[in-house]
């Protein structure tokens, strides 16, 4: 009997309420005092297709979805057919007899297979057919020997938040009860996995995009202009939902070019501003991204990657855009590029992004991906660290020179020139996308041009000395050092634990600040490491290439995956086992 350690997965067509059932189950497990991590796969359409939602549940910290799956709820035939290889030998499969069939002997002997008329049960309990997903939750509760009251509470919460009338809540509870009773009647032998509520320590569950939005509010972001694009949109949604409370302005504009330009305008006028998008949207933004670099305006952009090129697979995950983001826009200018790897980092690094943008008056890129942006994980409030706000050098009227002209692009030691905000008497200047002199007038002379390029790049050197160094996590005397960036963090941490049971000691270097790059630190890691593997969700090893460009060093191995799915920890574990 295994208690409080299982992975649960539900699958069905789009429109079957897969995402909402999954989210309810994840939240129910969180409220039961367990650690949860969820992961959803869905195509880019509203009806039809195949949607799945998996929730990994444990009484110990879980950092990534865990395979194999112990409980599979198949609301349609596709779910029966497509996930056999993901199942544990002693898994349970509850399939929808209204919609699917399982041939005898289809699953291994150890698998508990129960046909459940999910839709009949929904209708019989007075609910609509769509409540099949809630019947499935009731069935899950019985299977895992969980008290059904916890589920009732979540049903109540879910439908109250959706402003549904009491009658809907009641019929959904009845639907849950029907699923619960059905399993209790039809489960012939006890299931190997159970769950038991623990005390709830007030943990939260949220996605990376929520943590970024909250970090932005904490940082005093006052303006977001955006254009919807999965998987970035929910940052905009979250901030729009909080806009009135925290007095920030969120505007949906006509396209991504307008989005970034308006954010630049607001940043120039003196408020902390941002825009959020995905790869295709950022492609459109690139010219203005360079403008922010040239006119030296603070700007924060979040790029949540999906799988390209072009439309690619809009609702799937990948890390294909790093090389593009490191070089985006013509010309050379300092840019800060960072990639958080979990919720705590999403929250904290978003605050850092705003500070750095204003301190160095330059664009800052926060890279995430669909997996980090939209997978929900447990988080403790103590994990959310606040950062003091640093608004950089802003000159007020009293700071301006008397008798001489104000020099917007003054050549300073660290390249940062005090800026004036419009409305400041005496601080008039040209925010000039043309190359310019210190006074901001267009200037194309050879000498001024080179001096101004150097000035901008001194800011980059200053930022390089300012951004935190990465941290080598784990055993300092490891057999292998794993280097990664962004969302691979959770799977790598889990893989390192798994490798211990194979007597392999691995440590982990997450490159959080990719530009400016921690050249000396990474060189020292290479020097000490016995073997190095770079793990990335792309075809060409973009971080590995960047490491080589910055340090001249190449890893021993590149572990790459580019099928639109994130790494699962067991894949990293078995690959490394085979390499060593």
């Amino acid at each position: 009997m295994i208690q409080n350690n299982f992975s649960w997965k539900i699958g069905g067509e789009a429109g079957y309420g897969i995402l909402s059932a999954g989210a309810m189950f994840a939240r129910a497990m969180l409220r039961a005092g367990l650690y949860v991590f969820d992961y959803a796969e869905y195509p880019s359409l509203i009806r039809g297709g195949h949607n799945t939602f998996e929730v990994s549940v444990s009484d110990r910290k879980v950092f990534a979805p865990r395979r194999p799956i112990q409980v599979l709820i198949a609301l349609n035939q596709d779910t029966v057919n497509l996930h056999t290889h993901e199942l544990a030998p002693d898994a349970a499969v509850l399939y929808n007899t209204n919609n699917a069939s399982v041939p005898g002997g289809y699953y291994g002997d150890g698998v508990t297979v129960i046909g459940v008329p999910f839709e009949d049960l929904a209708l019989a309990s007075g609910a609509e057919r769509v409540a099949r997903n809630v019947v499935a939750l009731g069935a899950t509760y019985a299977l895992l020997k969980l008290p059904i009251e916890g589920l009732f509470a979540i049903i109540e919460l879910n439908f109250t938040l959706k402003k549904k009338p009491q009658a809907i809540i009641d019929t959904n509870k009845a639907a849950a009860r029907a699923g619960f009773d059905f399993i209790n009647k039809n489960l012939s032998k006890p299931f190997n996995y159970t769950a038991k509520p623990l005390s709830n320590p007030e943990r939260m569950i949220m996605a990376g995009n929520n943590a970024i939005a909250l970090g932005a509010i904490k940082a005093g972001c006052k303006f977001l202009s955006g254009y919807p694009m999965t998987p970035a949109t929910s940052i905009m949604n979250t901030l729009a939902g909080q806009a009135q409370k925290h007095n920030l302005v969120v505007v949906q504009v006509e396209d991504e070019i307008a989005a970034i330009c308006a954010a630049i305008g607001a940043g120039y006028a003196g408020v902390r501003s941002m825009t959020v998008t995905s790869g295709g949207g950022f492609d459109l933004m690139t010219e203005a991204w360079g403008m922010a670099g040239q006119i030296e305006v603070p700007l924060v952009v979040v790029e949540a990657m999906r799988t390209g090129p072009s439309t690619g697979m809009p609702t799937w995950s990948g890390q294909d855009d790093l090389a593009m983001l490191l070089a985006a826009s013509h010309g050379e200018f300092p840019r800060i590029v960072m990639a958080p790897g979990d919720l705590e980092q999403c929250y904290f690094m978003t605050q850092e992004a705003f500070n750095l943008a204003e301190k160095y008056q330059t664009p800052v890129m926060v890279i995430t991906d669909k997996y980090l942006a939209s997978s929900h994980s447990w988080i403790e409030q103590s994990g959310f660290k606040d950062l003091p706000i640093d608004r950089g050098r802003v000159a007020a009227e009293k700071d301006l020179p008397v008798g001489t002209a104000y020099k917007r692009y003054l050549h300073t030691k660290d390249g940062v020139s005090p800026r004036t905000l419009p409305g400041t008497p005496g601080g008039e200047h040209i925010a000039n996308s043309d190359e310019h002199d210190e006074e901001s007038f267009s200037d194309e002379t050879a000498e001024e041009r080179a001096k101004m390029v150097d000035k901008r790049f001194r800011k980059f050197d200053a930022a390089a000395a300012d951004v935190p160094l990465p941290v080598l996590e784990g055993d300092s005397n490891a057999d292998i050092t794993i280097i990664g960036w962004g969302s691979t963090r959770g799977a790598i941490l889990e893989a390192i634990e798994q490798l211990k049971s194979h007597r392999i000691r691995a440590n982990y270097l997450q490159i959080k600040y990719i530009s400016p790059f921690p050249v000396e630190y990474v060189k020292s890691v290479f020097k000490k490491a016995k073997k190095i593997a770079v793990v990335e969700n792309n075809k060409t090893g973009q971080l590995a290439a960047w490491i080589r460009e910055q340090t001249g060093l190449a890893p021993d191995y590149k572990i790459l995956k580019y099928d639109g799915r994130p790494f699962f920890s067991d894949e990293i574990t078995s690959t490394i086992k085979n390499l060593l």
Binding site: R31, M204, I205, N210, L214, I217, K218, G220, K222, F223, S225, Q242, A243, Q244, K245, H246, N247, L248, V249, V251, V253, E254, I257, A258, A259, C261, A262, A263, I264, G265, A266, G267, Y268, A269, G270, V271, R272, S273, E287, M291, I295, I379, Q381, D386, R391, P422, G423, T424, P425, G426, G427, E428, H429, I430, A431, N432, S433, D434, F441, S442
Partner: protein, 284 residues
């Protein structure tokens, strides 16, 4: 009170002799000065083009952005600090080709911005290619056999897109133009001033004399509150171009409709340490 001179930078304009920008530049400064606006209270966002090179010539908060994007930058500025007087300034290529999307949506949104478009019916900075407002058949280096597209109608487009102030001026009539720009700035909401402009170097068709023959001033009998009348004036089939305020109406501005900035502009709202406790609770 600030004078025209206070809005004049030390940078000498580099436009060709006879360029219409020599009319638009003083007219704009005069409008700002006569309205009692101080240089530090005004932001002018330019695109890229001959006209936009004027960014250097004004002494105010000038923003020389990128081709076609003066409007979205200006809207960002306005939403961050709606107490500023915000103008966007573009050429016809800038505003009606590269930036058309922004133009149409700015009309819909009605942010309190004044949009000055230097309409010389030509891409001049890039040395004389056809523009969206060039007459059909215009021969240029890229259209040696004559342009094929029908000309874009900026004032009609503004009208049907929901602009609340639509005017047309002429670079050759500075007092009239200055008055239009003044009224456009005073108007609460999005105001377009399409400025018919000569390009002495590249546009040999739409010359000073051509404009004199093809334009007429809207007189006292014209009612700028009448939308249908404005549409008729904007779409005349006899090739005559009206000068003056074609249309003006009242509608709440974009910025007025955002409760968060009803009391104080965003930029003056102190960054308070946000209380995220209720937000956190919603994730429990």
């Amino acid at each position: 009170m600030a004078t025209e001179k206070d809005f004049t930078s030390t940078y000498k304009p580099t436009w060709c002799p006879g360029c219409g920008n020599y009319g638009i530049y003083p007219a704009t400064k005069r409008a700002l000065a006569e309205l009692g606006i101080k240089p530090h209270e005004a932001v002018m966002v330019f695109g890229i083009g001959c006209s936009s090179n004027g960014a250097n010539c004004y002494k105010l908060y000038s923003f020389h952005s990128i081709h076609g994007r003066s409007l979205p930058v200006a809207i960002g500025v306005k939403l961050a600090n709606h107490e500023l007087t915000v103008l966007a300034d573009s050429g016809d290529g800038d505003g009606y080709s590269e930036g058309t999307n922004h133009f149409v949506h700015a009309c819909r949104g009605n942010a309190d911005i004044t949009y000055l478009v230097h309409d010389n019916r030509m891409y001049s900075l890039t040395q004389g290619q056809t523009s969206p407002t060039s007459l059909k058949g215009t021969k240029t280096v890229t259209t040696p056999a004559g342009s094929i597209n029908e000309p874009f109608n900026p004032v009609a487009t503004a009208l049907v897109s929901g602009a609340t102030f639509v005017a047309q001026g002429f670079s050759g009539d500075i007092p009239h133009l200055a008055d239009l720009i003044k009224k456009a700035i005073q108007h609460r909401g999005f105001s377009l001033v399409n400025i018919l402009q000569v390009c002495t170097t590249y546009n040999k068709v739409n010359t000073f004399d051509w404009y004199k023959q093809h334009t007429y001033k809207l007189d006292a009998t014209y009612n700028p509150a009448d939308f249908n009348g404005a549409l008729l004036a904007a779409t005349r089939t006899d090739g005559k171009l009206p000068l003056g305020i074609l249309y003006q109406t009242k509608r709440p501005t974009y910025d007025e409709q955002i409760p968060q900035i009803k009391v104080e502009p965003l930029v003056r709202q102190p960054i308070k340490v946000a209380d995220l406790e209720p937000a956190f609770d919603s994730y429990r």
